[in-house]
Symmetry: C2
Subunit: 198 residues, 2 copies
DNA sequence: TATAAAACATACAGGTCTGTAGCGTGTCAA
DNA sequence: TTGACACGCTACAGACCTGTATGTTTTATA
């Protein structure tokens, strides 16, 4: 709640909370959420356990916060690319596949946090699943907006196909040769767009 | 080891082992591997814990056996489809997308066990990861064989694109409308094939 | 400077997890 | 009949997990 008074500029950033979340995000992503206990997060972030539980009521809340953070990060990268291509939807899509392909090709890339965490918590209704599902809907929504600018017969269907390509890229690190991801994805995207226009 | 003597017909099937593996597979797939303890497997399969540990030395061994079982299952379905289309590679691919799309569209589908379990065990060298990685290589290998019969300029690249589509389908249950998966995937596959021929 | 909020440190409660030990029972083959 | 072996049952060791309780110290604000 923090009850920031009117005249005070309000610290806004909470250093301890941020340090916990950043450390947890790193550990969760690298080792998996279930494999990382709160004690490890506490130790690695050099913080008291009570502080962790003050800022995040339960571990599930911390996990959800982790996914929300990753979500924000992802869309901020996306938005930065979008801004540069307001006039050309195809160029925008190419640019997205550029950074996605580059990211997927990194040697220490461990897959999409949303997909990975959803796999760790199959039961419907789990806080982490809700964030992950919202992320998926948002992806489809944004691809829909792009598809509608591409003069295809069925934008919604094209958006679905592009979503499959992007999600597929996130779980196919194994099958890519070094450096081929971007070109391979982009060619596939162009192919389905061309087919959608015929 | 079982040391089956020469004259004895050897029971071949081990009922207890099979029951454990089947129960574990069901539970692991439905609820996630890390979420299911050996005690639960023991209880649900109506078996003694000692029996579980006699047949599978550790839980990791049981997990690996689970993935190998799913792997066999997957390729046996694949093979059954392949047999019916020895003469027509495109028809074979269509048929594969048929059953994959159908499977992905089931209301209780929980994703590809290999991908899910790999997400649960990020550390390289884990027994479960090895099975999952072998599964991915096998997928690419088989798609390569199909692509080579399709008269495209770069079969290997096409195989990569098809692998992305298939893996993407396995993690995109959210984005599909009911019943649209097969058609959507098949159209995308046809598009990348056509592009590979031009 | 006085007071409240936040952070730190430590211990622990209560549960779950994997894996093992000990002992009795049924089965089958030599 | 005897020995080997698979199986079942119970209990438990030892580790790890989430979350809380207690008390002290720092920090910021009024």
């Amino acid at each position: 709640m923090t009850k920031s008074t009117a005249n005070a500029p309000a610290p806004a950033v909470n250093e301890v909370r941020d340090r916990i979340l950043e450390t947890a995000s790193e550990l969760f992503y690298r080792r998996g959420v279930r494999a990382v206990g709160v004690d490890l997060v506490v130790e690695k972030s050099g913080v008291a356990k009570t502080s962790l539980y003050r800022h995040f009521g339960t571990k599930d809340d911390l996990i959800a916060a982790f996914l929300k953070r990753e979500d924000l990060d992802f869309w901020s990268t996306w938005d930065r690319v979008t801004e540069r291509h307001a006039d050309d939807a195809l160029a925008e899509l190419d640019a997205h596949f550029e950074w996605i392909g580059e990211r997927v090709g990194r040697h220490n890339y461990r897959g999409c946090p949303q997909i990975n965490t959803a796999a760790e918590f199959p039961e419907a209704g789990h806080p982490a699943r809700k964030v992950a599902e919202a992320h998926m809907r948002e992806l489809r929504r944004r691809l829909n907006a792009i598809a509608e600018r591409l003069a295809v017969a069925a934008p919604d269907r094209l958006a679905g196909q592009l979503a499959v390509l992007i999600n597929g890229a996130f779980v196919s690190m194994q099958v890519f040769e070094p450096g081929e991801a971007t070109g391979l994805l982009r060619d596939a995207a162009h192919a389905v767009i061309a087919a959608g226009r015929s």
